[in-house]
């Protein structure tokens, strides 16, 4: 009989024991995180409650004054409405189109491999290139869109200077630009589904739609949520496309919150006011994301 005490295997020294030296492993990241994320964020929150002007300097705390000014600023309220509308237009499009593309291209065909690359390709372009391309598409007289619809009998078409169509036009550009990411996430999720499940479904006489509805979609539920959350966070931060295509117009109908922040902070140099607007954007994104996570978890297993 062997003695239990003598056969006990000791854990290698240092594992599972708190040691100050182990902190060194996380220190590099901690420093970067503290300096580049935590500190600016706290500084921004502090700034939101100050009267801070780049020319006039710091004139002390003003409490909620900046927020009160925001609430009575029609341009800001318009920007909030524009941004929310933009999110509502783009996020469902990213989820549905991304999923549709992934379903269509999730196979071994050579054609699909080419198309996957094509659809992802535009994501690598910078916002300047993308908007340059689309301004040519949207050009009222000589643009691609005009060339396409004029023969059909449509009159002069000028989306970007139209109050109703400017924001949807930017949404189309955005979806075209970065549909590759959701598509890729969905493709990865689809490839995780075991082939045996589809074979079992085929033997269970499940048709195409039944299989999509009962096997595929439930299997990628989490990815749908991930894509929706990522896109909400990304699209609330709309800026470059709007600035470069419409400049926020016409009549402020396409000005997003980030452009408002940029203009308040870097054009008008009102840092406190701009910071307050940033905090509102942060709160909106937080609420939208938490709402999605809550909705996703409620229907989860």
């Amino acid at each position: 009989m062997s003695d239990a005490a003598t056969t006990r295997v000791d854990a290698p020294a240092g594992i599972g024991q708190p040691r100050l030296a182990n902190t060194l492993f996380v220190l590099p990241y901690m420093l970067i995180m503290l300096c580049l994320l935590a500190a600016p964020m706290l500084l921004g929150i502090w700034l939101a409650f100050q009267d801070y002007d780049m020319l006039g300097g710091w004139n002390g705390s003003v409490g909620l004054e900046n927020f009160r000014n925001l609430l009575s600023d029609q341009i800001f309220l318009g920007a909030v409405r524009n941004t929310i509308q933009f999110v509502l237009m783009t996020v469902p499009a990213f989820v549905l189109l991304g999923l549709g593309l992934a379903l269509a291209l999730n196979n071994q065909l050579r054609r699909s491999a080419v198309l996957r690359a094509v659809f992802f390709g535009s994501s690598v372009l910078s916002v300047t290139i993308v908007t340059l391309i689309w301004r040519m598409v949207y050009m009222p007289d000589r643009g691609l869109l005009a060339d396409l619809v004029t023969p059909l009998g449509a009159g002069r078409i000028d989306l970007v200077s139209n109050e109703t169509w400017a924001l949807p036009a930017i949404a189309v550009v955005t979806v075209w630009w970065i549909i590759g990411l959701p598509m890729t996430l969905f493709l990865a999720a689809l490839q995780q589904i075991p082939a045996e499940l589809y074979e079992a479904a085929a033997l269970d006489k499940a048709g195409r739609w039944r299989t999509l509805w009962s096997i595929t979609l439930p299997s990628i539920r989490r990815t749908v949520l991930v894509v929706a959350v990522i896109e909400v966070i990304l699209q609330f931060q709309l800026f470059g496309q709007a600035l470069l295509i419409t400049g926020g117009g016409p009549n402020n109908r396409s000005r997003p919150i980030v452009q408002f922040i940029y203009e308040a902070g870097f054009r008008d140099l009102q840092l406190g006011f701009a910071s307050a607007a940033s905090q509102v954007l942060f709160a909106l994104m937080l609420i939208a994301t938490l709402g999605q996570m809550w909705a996703g978890r409620r229907r989860g297993p």
Binding site: E196, L197, E199, A200, A202, D204, K205, A206, S214, I215
Partner: protein, 356 residues
């Protein structure tokens, strides 16, 4: 009448021919086991019956109708997959009812069938759980339940026991046999485990390299292997094979001489002996210790109820033979071995068994 009929079925993947012109008739109510090493085409054949793999050529008929041209769901077969393939987001009840709902069966009727099958498999208590909350054995039962509720003309099993631990595998074997007795259904079972084939099959189809080597009851296949491959594949330990040094005639019968000089007098007429190299095959239980050729004990494997002894003959070839579990023997001992000629097999240079 034959329930399942494979006619000149073939299949190739690129340049590799996995099934070669294979024909097979399975009578109604039979438990057929496709047995063979991995890569022999047995799973491909099963998947072709299920409709998950297209045929390269030939036809498959089930219950009098041709099925190889219709989609899997319309073939009247149900399959139990190796990894069960239960729908992870559905409860056990929904898993079992899925196929029934898809053929438009009323909810109440489907529920009745599910309840009935669940009772038979003793999984009624698990009906509201999801597959992730079940053990391997329980998942196995659900997968079988999902097949049973469909009342298929044929059940297809694709190595369904390979993921279970040894004890559970033994129990499930017995349960499947019982299930077959009870349902009298046609079952096709694929495995590489000859114990599963021996214990459950009414008939075994031994396959090798896309071809059927032998079809027969488990005992036929065990006692009268038609080829050297079947002889070597079926049975534990594997059959001993010894090269034949010379064939002599004694009173019209063939007497084969082994390389170590000992001889085995067969009952085969000398006339049926082909030319070319021959091999003698003999199972461990047909090697009789006590007299005959001298052998040195090399390895002793004690299995409890029996002991397998590896004896090395003078010429260096090894004979594995049976001793009782508690036999007093040690490595290095010298033993005398003789071969029960009536139970020995002779194979020609092509691997075919030689019969009178």
């Amino acid at each position: 009448m034959s329930e399942l009929s494979l006619r000149n079925v073939s299949k190739r993947f690129g340049a590799v021919e996995v099934i070669r012109d294979l024909s097979l008739e399975v009578p109604s109510g039979e438990f057929v086991v496709f047995l063979g090493p991995s890569g022999c085409g047995k799973s491909t054949l099963l998947r072709m019956i299920a409709g998950l793999e297209a045929l390269g050529g030939g036809e498959i008929h089930l219950g009098g109708t041709r099925i190889d041209t219709v989609p899997p769901g319309d073939r009247g077969v149900a399959m139990v997959f190796q990894h069960y393939a239960l729908y992870p987001h559905m409860t056990v009840r929904q898993n079992m009812a899925f196929g029934l709902r898809n053929i438009g069966m009323a909810a109440a009727e489907a529920a009745g069938k599910v309840a009935e099958a669940a009772e038979m498999l003793e999984i009624t208590a698990l009906l509201e759980r999801k597959p992730g909350q079940l053990s391997g054995g329980q998942r196995q039962r659900v997968a079988i339940g999902r097949a049973i509720v469909k009342q298929p003309k044929a059940f297809l099993f694709d190595e369904p026991l390979s993921n279970l631990d040894a004890a559970l595998r033994g129990r499930t074997r017995a349960e499947l046999s019982r299930l077959h007795q009870r349902m009298q259904a046609t079952m096709v079972f694929v495995t590489h485990d000859q114990v599963e084939a021996m214990t459950m099959a009414t008939r075994v189809v031994v396959m090798n390299r896309g071809r059927i080597e032998q079809i027969g009851t488990p005992m036929e296949v065990y006692q009268h292997p038609r080829t050297r491959f079947v002889a070597g594949f079926v049975g534990t330990p594997a059959m001993n094979f010894l090269p034949v040094a010379a064939v002599e005639e004694v009173a019209g019968r063939a007497l084969v001489r082994l390389p170590d000089g000992s001889s085995v007098a067969t009952s085969l007429p000398i006339g049926v002996m082909p030319g070319g190299a021959l091999e003698l095959g003999v199972r461990a239980e047909n090697v009789v210790p006590g007299s005959g050729a001298a052998a040195r004990v090399d390895v002793i494997e004690r299995l409890g109820e029996r002991t397998l002894v590896h004896g090395v003959l003078r010429d260096g070839s090894t004979l594995i033979y049976d001793e009782p579990g508690d036999v007093a023997i040690s490595i290095g001992d010298t033993v005398q071995l003789s071969i029960d000629a009536a139970a020995a097999h002779l194979f020609d240079s092509e691997g075919r068994a030689i019969h009178a």
